[in-house]
Amino acid sequence: MESVVDWPRQRASVIRDAVGVGLAVGALGISFGALSAVFGLSLVETSALSLLMFSGASQFAFIGVIGAGGNPLAGAAVAALLGSRNALYGLNLSALLGVHGPRRALAAHLVLDESSAMAIGRRDDRSARLAFWATGASVFVLWNLATLFGAWGAAALPDPSALGLDVASPAAFIALLAPRVRSRGPWVVALAAGAVALAAVPFVPIGTPALVAAVGIALVIGLLPEVAD
């Protein structure tokens, strides 16, 4: 009810949240840019990832494979698999956004953990739509600036790995994983996938253990009736 009464205030609060999320993500973007440089990607390659792939977890996974000495195609496969959750967000967002044609093509690029979470959490459609666009735009601008800044900064540092940047990636994954493992089923899946991935390390090409483990476990448990619930 109050949402209809005071739209300007509502709008200001949505935009303030969007900028806040953008700043937080930007800080992570600095570590992405720096880590990417540490892993040997050029400034152009690093920026291309942030501009074109534009999905933090997928980008961290991609450079993780490269940094470990794996094949870029394995990196692409892991990135795509992680990006599959964005398809799920899209399914939930499409009715809300109601976009078609070029606007849909643009909206698709902004489908992220952050923009989806900010939009789906709103009480009315108008502020949900604004939250999606504002958060998506804010994250896009700040993530890309931060990437550049981080990649440049790392080039200037004598030993960036001394800063512990390489754990920014698994730490971010833990933060992303936490809200998804609130019950026993997902915990079992997570532990099994971690164990299978480590067991596969000596035997499969670099960059593929996570892929092998995740697809195997998700399919096996997903197809078993009722185990994961």
Binding site: M53, L91, P186, L211
Partner: protein, 99 residues
Amino acid sequence: MWLGLLLGALACYGLKLAGLSVPRRVLENNRVRRISALLPVALLAALIAIQTFSSSHRLTLDARSAGVLAAFTAVLLRAPFLVVVLVAAATTALVRHFV
């Protein structure tokens, strides 16, 4: 490198677009819903394990595991996203410096 980079970017964009374009009915299929909910859990957990406890073809236990343990603790304490990442990096940096 560029082939993998562009293919990965294209796949990520395609998935986002597909989500916005495919009818919602797909979600009503129980198996699709379960697998799509479990896949990120499995993949994130596998990536955490790999990026913490392995380097190339070997299993390792080094300063990274301290950082990841710190991140895990921060998440348990409901720290905000950024704090989780910073605590992890700082812990690993300190362990590298002093151990």
